[in-house]
Amino acid sequence: MSTDSRFVHKIWQEQELSRMLDGGVPFPMLSDGGGRIGTIYGVYDEDAGVDIRGRFIIDPDFVIRAMEVLTPEVGRNPQELIRQIKAFQLVRETGDVTPSGWQPGEVTLTPGAALVGKVWEVWKP
């Protein structure tokens, strides 16, 4: 989503994105002219008149699980986005929690009285 119109989105997809990625981006390119949606998501920069780089993960219950907001100069890290989605999905399925730096396949923690003071036994950072 950006403050560009859907017309600009179409031309950007046709002229540039489809040359970077076969078929172009497969998801809806949303228009937030006026920044009203960006405002409630905390990413609209009134001075510049644009939505800055904000990213939100929303779970199947429509609950926001994560947000990341960057100023425009630095791009995102898709691998980190995917890692976070996998972590939230696993937490939702199992009830376990994922320690710092967790990667898919690594040990998760089962919260509860038995684990108090024993994290060092099961998790080696």
Binding site: M1, R55, A66, G75
Partner: protein, 85 residues
Amino acid sequence: MPDQKDGCVKPARGPILPKTDSAVSESGITKSQEVDLMLARVGKEAIDFEATAFVEGVGFKPVKLSDYKGKWIVLCFYPGDFTFV
């Protein structure tokens, strides 16, 4: 691709906020149109909205965030088409 006939000005609803008792102010403008604060919070329900969109293979259509309820959603904002990063 289907017909993409579309007027120049076709407003979408924008943010769709829960109604409150005092939804209409003296100016006749609804509160939901006056909101200028960040409402999104982690651990809380996402704020629904409707936006106009370009969808590859479909064309122009209005999209509501809540159309995707029940799925994992990634909502990304960016500064502009044709920018560099």
